[in-house]
Symmetry: C2
Amino acid sequence: MPITTKQIAEICHVSRGTVDRALNGRAGISSKTRELIEETARKYNYRPHLLASSLSRGKSMSIGVVFFDLKNRFFSQMSNAISLAARSRGYFTYIAVTEKDIESEKQILHNLASRRVDGLIMLPITQGKDFIRELKELEIPVVTVGNQLPGIHHVSIDEFRAAYDSAHYISSAGYRRICFVCPPLRKKGFLDGRYNLTSQEQRVQGFLAYTKKNSGMKYKVLTEKDFGAAAAEMIRKSKEKTAFFCSSDIYALDLLKYLGDHLISVPEDAGIMGFDNLDILTYIKPRLATVSVSIDEVGKKAMETLVDLISGAKKPGHTCYVPYQICPGETL
Amino acid sequence: MPITTKQIAEICHVSRGTVDRALNGRAGISSKTRELIEETARKYNYRPHLLASSLSRGKSMSIGVVFFDLKNRFFSQMSNAISLAARSRGYFTYIAVTEKDIESEKQILHNLASRRVDGLIMLPITQGKDFIRELKELEIPVVTVGNQLPGIHHVSIDEFRAAYDSAHYISSAGYRRICFVCPPLRKKGFLDGRYNLTSQEQRVQGFLAYTKKNSGMKYKVLTEKDFGAAAAEMIRKSKEKTAFFCSSDIYALDLLKYLGDHLISVPEDAGIMGFDNLDILTYIKPRLATVSVSIDEVGKKAMETLVDLISGAKKPGHTCYVPYQICPGETL
DNA sequence: GTGAAAGCGCTAACAG
DNA sequence: CTGTTAGCGCTTTCAC
């Protein structure tokens, strides 16, 4: 058991208030007593009790981070950035994973609220009025990344524009036929539409906006779980070369592998473009064309926004866009 | 501000003790008052204040997880497993990253101790008597993974044997010349030997034990940062085919890429074997020979051990080995 | 400059 | 079965 301020007070023959002043660098104390107290604190290996401190101060100096999982590089990279940004401001991060389970997400949020985290950064898997009400009832500042929630602060790239630009990029590489691959959209409508798919939806909308605008374009959206087989069939049936624009690098890699295993060459027989520019791409050949999202930037910005919300100093704008960039590759 | 037990007590015209009994399912209360209390709690959206609860109970139901970073898949996968295992037992996990900085590691540990985490799971970057003393002074149960610390509970694979077996596997694939690639070992001796490299050292020792035992074997250990160039030179200079046994899949992938960029074919001109079996390998061609470590298993086991230590129910053994497996590939 | 006292919200031991 | 009381360790206000 570490020593407490009370004991230090006794040892130094001063009051607890004085010890507090010394240990927290507060004013109104002679340098003599301050030094005495600091020294005994060191001597007895004093360790402040942050739970007690939080209780009386009403701030826990901790934040909650809630993601699907940490297996996905997108989340682990972002968690890394958030964790660092948080610590540099004195916050520690609880990280919890929902495994895309709506009930888990709910429980985690309540638990974190009970732990009195000062703020939350999350990628919500749920949407809808009820959920937003519940979130607001926690009375904790929240910043979302990836999926959006109306009325809640959000940091992300402009998914719509990024997808729009990507479609344009693919088309300028000579493709007249683009297929958007986005398996998560399967879930649309499930559970009374409670799944939050805003990020994916904005991407598909950006894609459609471009392809519909350009009358020469043929387009399709693939949401099958087994999109590899579906894509292979499309390629075989059509003589026109198709580009597969995947809503995430992971799907692009899966597709690349599937096509390779089925003797379809990229980019000779079909084109592929990904999204996110995950760091594992450096090891992949051919180099995947993709959209680079600065995940670290999103994480940092999200933390910054959260701190602003917590301190209430300045109200940050509701949505903060982080720049993105088209990354050319050898797969188109 | 959520309602407190005190307010509930007033509303229900009972004492705080009774409210506590009702809300925590403790015995000694009539079902009538219990129901009344539960209902008002629900009605007013009561949320237990876990900080206060922790303070008086002396348990925070939180654990600290300390790794180099979360960019490395090894750590993020493990964090994911730990986070899940923890939550299933009611614990939440603080996750902090050191970025391989000894001073950061120290600060993080002290901060977590101040937050009164009930236990710690870490991959220490520091070693030495002073560090161990400091760790023990925290008076918190600690479980290490990866790197070891004498006298502290540890969960991992048997690195020595895994490396030994791998060397044997490589040799049985026909190689008479094996080069162990392990850049982290460069740090050996830096900062008065404070860097903890036990995991890597055990691997190199296992490798050496095998190669030294078999007199026909030629061996070498590469620790250069720029190991790709060094390896390429070795390959060019010798007519005998060399296998590069990399202490981590990451190095193996870097090497594979480097050699490919320099027109050296694997496995025609040289062999490569990795370590860890990271999940990104599924996307890599040629399929990398490696050693599979069940990272989830290590994470789960570490949490299990930690819970045993916290509860003090049964003292777990000091070292717990998790099985590993040689994974054949196309790179040998 | 320093001390005394009340309080953060919950828990636990004891008395009735 | 229920109430009272005394904490947990730190913070903060107010008086001296």
